[in-house]
């Protein structure tokens, strides 16, 4: 019996990982159960998935301690602490979960796998496939499921988006590889990063707020001069933030107007 708890932000794909695992287990003729547990928000807010895979009948969909616990974001840390036992393997995204948050689990976590999934995804597969890397790492602990079943499950889950199927399977393999070879293991999270927030010249300053920005890019769409593009830096949600070419910017303020999060501030000097 494997008890797997997956915790992420709404929108990070925690539930997708769970669905694929349960589907694959089912196809492998194992007993399985999956229950989502989250609050009201469509996005944002902690999203939990309880998955069980077993040879024996499963009576109850939740459990007290996880065998495998995946932590994908900061907000999940305090919520999942109670599920960590002596034998829990904690998998976390060392490139995204803040170190100060991670250290709240210092002493509680007995074994872990640090997988910089966001970094790897951003580099190789696209941020949307971050969760597939984690699927690979979890799968390393559930090898009783034949790999073809995972492959089939991924295909089924993304049947409506065939262009993503291959990419997701590659990301899954990369995650599995990483969990097998376990390079650079440290119980360390992301350090506070200094990110450029102000872009300015003599006439104006354009400021972005990583703690508010959600990466929707409405600002880029609305900019009459195409001065705004998607940058590399990540916001608090872990998605890419806009950046501005301050020379092209005419300080019209349309980006500031249309931002639903108040994450852009334009000031004329």
């Amino acid at each position: 019996m494997k008890k797997i708890l997956i915790a992420g932000e709404g929108g990070q794909g925690a539930q997708s990982i769970a669905e694929i695992l349960a589907l694959a287990a089912h196809k492998a003729d194992l007993k399985t159960s999956y229950i989502p547990n989250f609050g009201v928000e469509q996005r944002g807010g902690v999203s939990l998935a309880f998955v069980q895979i077993s040879n024996d009948p499963i009576n109850y969909p939740k459990f007290d301690r996880a065998d495998i616990l995946l932590i994908m974001c900061n907000r999940a840390v305090s919520v999942v602490k109670e599920f960590i036992g002596e034998n829990t393997l904690v998998i976390f995204d060392g490139s995204f979960v803040s170190d100060d948050k991670l250290q709240e689990l210092q002493g509680v976590v007995k074994s872990y796998l640090s997988l910089p999934a966001k970094n790897i995804a951003q580099e190789k597969f696209g941020l949307k496939s971050t969760n597939m890397l984690f699927l690979g790492a979890i799968y390393h602990e559930v090898l009783e499921i034949p790999k073809e079943m995972i492959s089939t499950a991924i295909n089924e889950k993304f049947a409506a988006y065939p262009e993503f199927q291959q990419n997701n399977k590659k990301a899954f393999e990369a995650g599995l590889q990483y969990a097998t070879s376990k390079p650079d293991q440290q119980f360390k999270g992301r350090q506070k990063q200094e990110v450029k927030t102000v872009y300015e010249d003599d006439q104006k300053s354009w400021e972005r707020f990583p703690q508010y920005c959600k990466g929707c890019m409405l600002c880029a769409v609305r900019c009459p001069k195409n001065a705004i593009t998607m940058g590399k830096d990540l916001n608090f949600l872990g998605t890419q933030m806009p950046e501005v070419d301050i020379e092209k910017c005419i300080a019209c303020g349309k980006c500031m107007e249309i931002c639903p999060d108040g994450a852009i501030k334009l000031e004329k000097h």
Binding site: V40, E41, V46
Partner: protein, 355 residues
Amino acid sequence: MAKQLLTGNEVLVRGALASGAKFLSGYPITPTTEILKYWADEKVKTPELIFLQVEDEMAAGFAMIGAVLAGTKAFTASAGPGNVLMQDPLSMAESLRLPTVTFIMQRGGPSTGTVIYSQQEVNLTCFGGNGEGLRIVYSTSNIQDLYDYAIKAFNTAWKYRFPTFILGDGYQSKQLSQVDIYDPTAQGIELVDATPYLLKPHREAGHYVNLRDTYNLEDELSALILQQKKVFDEISPEIIEFEDIHTLDAEVVIFAHGIVAAVVKDAQEEMRKEGLKVGLFRPITLSPFPRESARQVIKNKKAILVAESSLGQFANLVKSQICGDTPFRIARIANPAHAVSKESIISKVKELLKG
């Protein structure tokens, strides 16, 4: 002071006015419809009163909530299918512990049933909605009760901040009889002040109130409910009321509430004259229930008899409260939506005493 000849519905309105109530929102439904009428008439004389006949009972309940949030003593009245719809706003009142006052005058159910009478809204009034029954419910027995407990309901609501109810019935609504309409302050009853929840007059600058009744994960809600229950249990001794008539030497004790307790009193008088040892335990507050007193009263009795105009809503409540203390028989008179007659009480008690 001379008594006045009034109907139950009118008495409820007088009680609300005497309590300082300023706001009624409601929807016409038998048998409480006249409450709207009397209040509307009153408003003609006293224009500061607020009256809203709204589109349905949900609007009535939520408008009442809006008024309560503004710090205004507000009430509504309903019955039967209207009581069903009321559970939507009353759930919110429970969640936020709002001092709403609701007059429920029971009629036959389920569905449209009859417009006349029953005691079939005990479950709905005490435990309706999707909450845990943290409500205060007074079951009135006669027309004087309607006045006394209307005043008490507003005071209890605004003092303790739980949704408060008068649970009467269609007979009480329509009965025309004599009642003492006194000035509560002249009788030494202090009226509790209403205070606003929103736009408080002396709030600190920059301090705003954001109320909600939705929580994200299980823990938050669970903790809140346990905390509310703790408060409810702490205040219960101050609120619990009951009548205990001749139970001490009784062999059979009758449990009854509301207007059925009144007919039991008649039956009891007659039986006592015959020398039969019978007592009456009448909970006045169905919630919080006078559990400790009930448990004392049933000790060493031959039998208890629960009589009600329902299949068993009151009996279930009684049983849940005295469970563990009843090694003996619990007999029943269960007349859903139908009055309980004096004769049926007497013949049942005699049967129990025999054997």
